[in-house]
Amino acid sequence: MPSLFDKLWAAHAIAETPGGATIIAIDRIFLHERTGAAALNSLAAAGRGVADPARAFVAMDHIVDTRPGRTDATTMPGGTAFITETRAAAHAAGLTVFDIGDPDQGIVHVVSPELGIVLPGLTLVAPDSHSCTQGAVGALAWGIGSTEAEHALATGTLRIDRPPTMRVTFDGTLRPGVTAKDMALALIARHGAAGGQGHAIEFAGSAVTALPMEARMTLCNMATEFAAFSAVIAPDDTTFAWLRGRRYAPAGALWDRALAEWRQLPGDADAAFDREISIDAAGIAPMVSWGTSPAQSVPLDGVVPADAAPGSLAYMGLHPGQPLAGLAIDGAFIGSCTNSRLSDLQRAAAIVAGRHVANGVRAIVVPGSSAVKRAAEAEGLDAVFTAAGFEWRESGCSMCFFAGGESFGAGQRVISSTNRNFESRQGPGTRTHIASPEVVAASAIAGRISAP
C-alpha cells in the first residue's frame, strides 16, 4: 500500500543517520546564477569537488537581462559578477551551463523538463523554492538553500527528515476559463499559505489527471506558496508522451526499461497519507490575489474581504468590500516559472489577438525558455503580442522579482502571471495581483482587472 512518495523515498534512501534523518540520493542538481557562485566558491574553498558533475546543471535565469540584444550586463547594479563568477565556478567544476545566448537557456524549471533532465522516479534539488514545479513529471523535487546545495554537490546526497505526506484531490471538471493557476490559488486561499506545512504533497483526482503536462507544472509550482516540502503528480501516458524523445531522456531499449519502471510508480489505491484535502474542481472560479500573500486571493468576481489584514490593505491601496474586477492597472506581466510555457503563451495570445493593450498600461511577455521563445515565434505569437502592444522579451525570471534592476515602480498596480504578490516583490511599493495568463492578457487589454 505504498504511495508514490513512499516509492520515491524508498528508492533513494541510502542510510539512516544517528539523528533519525535519512541520507537520500540526489539524482539531479540545478543551480542558477543568483546563488550558484556562493555555493560553488564555498565548496572549492573547502577543497571539495562535485561528486558527479554530469548530473549537475546551471541555468542562467534569475538576473540575466531579458531585453533584446542582451549581454552579461544586467539591469541590476553589480549583477554581472553573479553571472561571471557562477559561470567560471561551474566550468571549473565541470557542470553543464545553459548560458546566455545558448539555445537551451531559460528558467531552470522550464528548461529541466523540456530537456528531459528531470524524469519520473528521480530526485532533483535546486537552491530555488519553486523546484517543486518539477514534481509534475512524477519526480521528488524540492527547493533547498545554498549550504544544502553544497552538500548535494559534494556528496550526491542530502540528509533530511522524512516529511509527512498529504494528498490534495481535485475531482470533477474545471469550468471553461479555469486553469491550473486557479486550482492552486483556490487551494491556498482556502487552506492558508501555511496549509501544506512541510508536507510532501501528491496532487490527485480526475481534474489533475485531465491536466496537460505544462498545466501540471503550474499546479506543482505553487506548492511552495502552500509551505509544502514538495509536490508530485503520478506519471501517466500524458507524462510519458510529453517526455519521450527529449534530449536527456533515455532512448531505445533504455527508454523501454525506464518506462516499465515508471509505470509502477503510481501509489497503490489504498495508500495512506498523513493528511487529505479534497476540492470540487467544478466549484473553482478564475482567481486573482488582492493582498500580499497568495492566500489573499478571491474569485475574479469577488471583493476584498471584510476581515482583510490592515497591513496588506494599506500596501495594496485597497479597502474591504472593494471589487477586484474593474480595478485599474498600470502594468501586466506574463512570465515566470509558473506560467511562461508555450501553452501559457498560446492561451494568452488567443485573447489579445487583434486587440490592443489599454492606454497607459505597460505590458510585457517573457517566454520561460529560449526554446519556448523560438516555438512561439515559429507560430507567430511574438507578432500577435507585439501588434497588441506587448513587449516581447528574451527568456528569464525577469520582473517576477526585483533585484535592483527593472521594476514597474512604486504604487503601480500590476497584474502578473507570477507566483508571489509579496510586498515589494516586483519592486519597492509595486502592487502585484497574481492570476492566470488569461486573466493577465484580458486585463492588459481592458486596462482593468478583467475576465477573459
Partner: protein, 201 residues
C-alpha cells in the same frame, strides 16, 4: 561548520506577523555580493529604513532594548517564499541566533539549522506570552526548554537538527563518513536504473 548553539539569553524582539517572507527578511536587491557575508545591512531593509536609508524608528529592531536582540519572536510560516539562505546569513550576521514562531517554512528551517540559527517552534499562545513579558528569554537547546521570568515552555526539535546545532557540525563531513555505503548504493542503483546516470553520454 557553524557556531555551536547551546544556551542563549536575550531580550526577544517581537515581529508578530504571519508569513514573514524571505523578501521581507532580506529583499533581493540587498543581495549585492556573490558571497555569504556583508548582508546584515540588508536585513529587513524594506521595514528597517525609510527613504534615504534612514532608520525607521518604529521598526522593532531599531527600538531601544531590541537593537542587540539575539532572539526574534514571529508569526506563523516564518521564512516562507524564496529559498535564499541569505535570509539566515543576514539574521546571523546581525546577531539573531534564534527565531521563535508557531511554524516555519520548511526550506527556511533547514537553512537556519545549517547556518547556526535555531528555528524554535512554540504554539502561538506561548509566543504571544513571551512577547507580552518584557524580560530576557533564556533558551536551553540541550534541555529543549525556553524560560522567561515565570514562563517556561518545552519545545520539540528533531534529533538531527539538535545535534547539528549543538555541535556546530558540518553536514558534509558527517555524510562523507558514509562514503563507502553511498558508493556501494550507487553500484547497485546503476545496474537497476542506468538511465539515472549521465556520465557516459
Amino acid at each position: 561548520m557553524s557556531t555551536p548553539f547551546t544556551t542563549l539569553t536575550s531580550l526577544a524582539a517581537p515581529l508578530l506577523e504571519d508569513n514573514i517572507d524571505t523578501d521581507i527578511i532580506i529583499p533581493s536587491r540587498e543581495m549585492k555580493t556573490t558571497g555569504k557575508t556583508g548582508l546584515a545591512a540588508g536585513l529587513f531593509a524594506g521595514r528597517r529604513y525609510t527613504e534615504g536609508r534612514t532608520e525607521n524608528p518604529e521598526f522593532v529592531l531599531n527600538r531601544p532594548g531590541f537593537r542587540d536582540a539575539a532572539i526574534l519572536l514571529a508569526g506563523a510560516n516564518f521564512g516562507c517564499g524564496s529559498s535564499r539562505e541569505h535570509a539566515v546569513w543576514a539574521l546571523a550576521e546581525h546577531g539573531i541566533r534564534a527565531v521563535i514562531a508557531p511554524s516555519f517554512s520548511p526550506i527556511f528551517a533547514g537553512n537556519a539549522v545549517r547556518g547556526g540559527v535555531l528555528p524554535l517552534a512554540l504554539p502561538r499562545a506561548a509566543v504571544d506570552a513571551l512577547a507580552a513579558h518584557d524580560v530576557a528569554v533564556h533558551i536551553d537547546l540541550p534541555a529543549q526548554r525556553v524560560t522567561a521570568g515565570t514562563l517556561a515552555f518545552a519545545f520539540e526539535i528533531n534529533a538531527e537538527a539538535k545535534a547539528m546545532l549543538v555541535g556546530g557540525l558540518d553536514a558534509i563531513d558527517l555524510t562523507l563518513q558514509s562514503a563507502a555505503t553511498i558508493a556501494a548504493w550507487h553500484d547497485r542503483n546503476r545496474s537497476l536504473r542506468p538511465w539515472v546516470y549521465l556520465g557516459n553520454r
